[in-house]
């Protein structure tokens, strides 16, 4: 501990704190902008400057550590003048078209303006850049709004390890981008959208799909169905002032009905279906491997389209490790335009499927040429959680006053195993609950059905499961120690994939989610996201699971019915046609795109 004086208050603070952290810990707010707790500390905007007695220049409080005896003024005339000047300089190179910007009222630059009473037009001059890159189906880059804080550079390089965003050029001409004026769609961007979560302004955003969805809803000839991913219900409430971790499942369903959707389905139903298909695929691979037949292990989950694109770019020779299962919302879309269309007697071409996802990469996923059956795209539009909130507000629906609604059948019932798909470790746990029971005929013998060691926010988590006394048809697995690993965020994925590509992976099954923490903190979720918020959303997801009567995917009565009435059996002919897919060798520079995999 050291003693510092901030604004004439003597304070004892930790000696490894920065001035900003020390002030914060003592309820003194130093206006700051580019700084992001635990993520980004760069000192580029200088908004957080303070006066330190004895120092000639003002100090960026996010960068400078406290020292014993330091005397700090956060609000002196000199500090306030400098702060105002810095803010006005940032504004002088910003379009200021706030009223038409999607970040209006959720913009950190705007919010900062409330603290700093800037004078308009005092500093007007040349604008440095105006490039808008709309090439990506997921993310739109409007560089005229970029404030060069470099948060996106940090998440893209250091947190995700992808590195398609970096500062190019120098000084006034600096622009954040992939380099060589390449559009985002032409490089190895995985479209995870983590950059859109940290961008303080409207420079990086999801590509807007609201208009396409409204158009479909206003078209009377269309039967518009919507589905919601497990992570959406654990975060949507934040957009309406609820505490992080508040579950708003029922209100969300009611809101979707009020918006005019003809059927409100649950992606969770398809998550249960994924477990049946993927679990059987794993058993199929294990059976082959144990009987000396060719089979690729470890098998790796395929629900996260950002992760899939990453592996296609980075490890194009390892695509056989990926489960061939489509992601759950694609499965549901395929079923909506076949099974459901048959049931209600509607031409599948008239059905318009909207997925509400915590994810920006899903917007890219629906454009993949594989995601089409019988000439119909499986899913027609993807809205992020943020976009759904905007849609609800736009329609004048008073979310907080809504009652609880229920999802529609036959694609609306789900088990607790499906709920946990939204968090890191969830897909693996759901798969283990079902696979263990298929193999042994007994329920997974863990407290509350949880696989504790793969829960939580650690980058790489592992578990081992000893198979004892299996059923006769799985005798060959007797005594086998099933090894699994779970990771979220692409840095962790890289660690596990390096083992895979060196043929050194000790695992049978790996779960990868592209965003740190999993879908609960996906690129389409409400801002901000930090570890505390991640944990709250994660708790909410596990709560939803534990509150369900049915907690194992194979117990879902509508899944059982679906196989009886339509699919016949897991990995069967219909499943292969509708629910499974193939992957594309891309290469880090897209140099492999000509040759198609499988």
């Amino acid at each position: 501990m050291v003693q510092v004086t901030i604004n004439n208050k003597k304070l004892l603070v930790d000696d490894d704190m920065t001035i900003l952290e020390a002030a914060r810990a003592n309820n003194i707010n130093i206006p700051n902008f580019c700084y992001m707790k635990d993520v980004h500390r760069f000192g580029s905007c200088r908004i957080c400057v303070v006066e330190v007695e004895g120092a000639r220049n003002l100090q960026a409080s996010c960068m400078v550590k406290v020292r014993d005896g330091m005397v700090i003024h956060t609000n002196s005339e000199r500090v306030k003048k400098a702060r105002k000047m810095l803010y006005e300089l940032i504004l002088s190179d910003h379009p200021k078209n706030c009223l038409t910007c999607a970040r209006n009222q959720s913009c950190e630059l705007q919010k900062l303006g409330e603290l700093i009473h800037a004078e308009d037009g005092r500093l007007e001059g040349e604008r440095s850049k105006s490039e808008i890159d709309a090439s990506s189906p997921s993310i739109i880059r409007d560089m005229s709004k970029c404030v060069l804080c470099r948060r996106c550079v940090t998440v893209c390089n250091e947190i995700q390890g992808v590195g398609v965003l970096n500062a190019q050029n120098r000084g006034f001409k600096t622009v954040i981008g992939p380099g060589a004026d390449l559009p985002l769609n032409s490089v190895n961007c995985v479209m995870c959208g983590q950059c859109t979560v940290v961008c303080p302004v409207g420079a990086l955003q999801e590509k807007d799909s609201l208009q396409a969805v409204w158009d479909a809803l206003y078209d009377n000839g269309r039967h518009v169905v919507v589905q919601t991913a497990p992570a959406v219900r654990a975060a949507l409430g934040e957009e309406f002032g609820y505490e992080p971790g508040t579950l708003v499942t029922g209100k969300m369903v009611t809101a979707l009905r009020e918006l005019g959707f003809d059927a409100v389905f649950d992606t969770n139903f398809a998550a249960d279906l994924t477990i049946i298909e993927e679990g059987n695929e794993l058993l199929d691979r294990l059976t082959k491997a144990m009987n000396g037949k060719p089979a690729t292990l470890p098998m790796i989950t395929s629900c996260s389209p950002g992760w899939i694109k990453y592996v296609e770019h980075t490890y194009p020779d390892e695509l056989d490790h990926l489960s061939t299962c489509k992601s759950p919302h694609m499965m549901l879309g395929a079923l909506a335009k076949s099974y459901y269309a048959d049931k209600i007697g509607i031409d599948p071409r008239k059905i318009f499927v909207v997925s509400v996802m915590p994810c920006t990469a899903k917007k890219f996923e629906i454009t993949r040429p594989e995601m089409v059956n019988n000439g119909c795209p499986n899913v027609d539009a993807v809205l992020t959680t943020r976009e759904l909130a905007r849609m609800i507000k736009e329609a004048g629906v008073d979310f907080r006053s809504l009652g609880d609604g229920e999802f529609d059948n036959p694609l609306g019932i789900s088990t607790g195993a499906a709920d946990i798909f939204g968090t890191t470790g969830g897909v693996m746990e759901a798969a283990i609950r079902t696979v263990y029971e298929i193999v042994t005929g007994r329920e997974l013998p863990f407290e509350n059905l949880h696989v504790k060691s793969i829960m939580g926010l650690d980058t790489v988590k592992t578990a081992e499961l000893l198979i004892e006394n299996p059923k006769d048809e799985y005798k060959f697995l007797d005594g086998v120690q099933l090894k699994v690993a779970v990771t979220s965020g692409l840095k962790g994925a890289k660690m596990l994939m390096d083992q895979v590509s060196a043929n050194e992976s000790p695992y049978h099954f790996i779960e990868v989610m592209g965003c740190p923490g999993g879908c609960i903190s996906g690129g389409g979720q409400p801002r901000p996201t930090d570890d505390e918020i991640r944990k709250k959303r994660m708790d909410a997801i596990y709560r939803e699971d534990e509150n369900k009567q049915l907690r194992k995917s194979h117990e879902n009565p509508f899944i059982i019915k679906l196989y009886e009435e339509f699919l016949v059996k897991p990995l069967g002919h219909k499943s292969h046609e509708l629910l499974h897919t193939a992957y594309t060798r891309r290469g880090i520079f897209n140099e492999l795109l000509q040759g198609r995999h499988r």
Binding site: N157, V162, G163, V164, L165, N166, A167, Q168, N169, R170, G177, P178, G179, A180, V187, I588, F589
Partner: protein, 166 residues
């Protein structure tokens, strides 16, 4: 790394040989922290300039994102992404050289060579660049041709200086 390795042999070497030599440089440097600038410097010495294809090659060999390599290349004015002349003229426009007539040197060179700043003559002989202070303020106005510094340059003498390079 000896100096001869980075010397330009562009006229005598094939494309593949240049890439091979750059790969050797990367092999030697890639595990050293912060060696990207060093590698780019040498690669430019070998290849003459740093086109996007070469930047990709360097990125892949060094295990770095392309955007990072391109970011460094576009940050430093010393690096060029366009083909450069056999000889690079750099006129200093730092404060001391500027007030002692650096600008006039630039004007005269533009006239003699028929190129703008940043350009290369049609015969590929000279590239013309300006720099902000080459650290030779006592010799102002100064300019460099390749590694050689010319002091107190008189615009009228430029023609005869350039002739030495033909």
């Amino acid at each position: 790394m000896s100096n001869s390795v980075i010397q330009c042999r562009c006229k005598k070497e094939t494309e593949a040989e240049k890439y091979e030599r750059i790969a050797e440089v990367i092999e030697e440097y890639k595990d050293r922290e912060g060696s990207l600038i060093q590698v780019l410097h040498m690669a430019q010495g070998i290849y003459g300039y740093l086109p996007v294809e070469l930047q990709r090659f360097i990125a892949q060999k060094m295990g770095l994102p392309f955007s990072r390599v391109s970011g460094v290349v576009t940050f430093y004015s010393f690096f060029s992404t366009k083909p450069r002349g056999e000889n690079t003229i750099r006129v200093c426009l730092g404060t001391a050289c500027y007030v002692r007539g650096g600008k006039k040197i630039v004007e005269k060179l533009r006239e003699i060579l028929g190129v703008e700043v940043g350009g290369t003559t049609a015969d590929g002989k000279f590239s013309l660049e300006v720099m902000r202070c080459i650290g030779a303020c006592g010799l102002a106005p100064a300019m460099m041709i390749n590694d050689r510094v010319y002091k107190q340059v008189n615009p009228d003498k430029l023609q005869s200086i350039l002739e030495k390079y033909y």
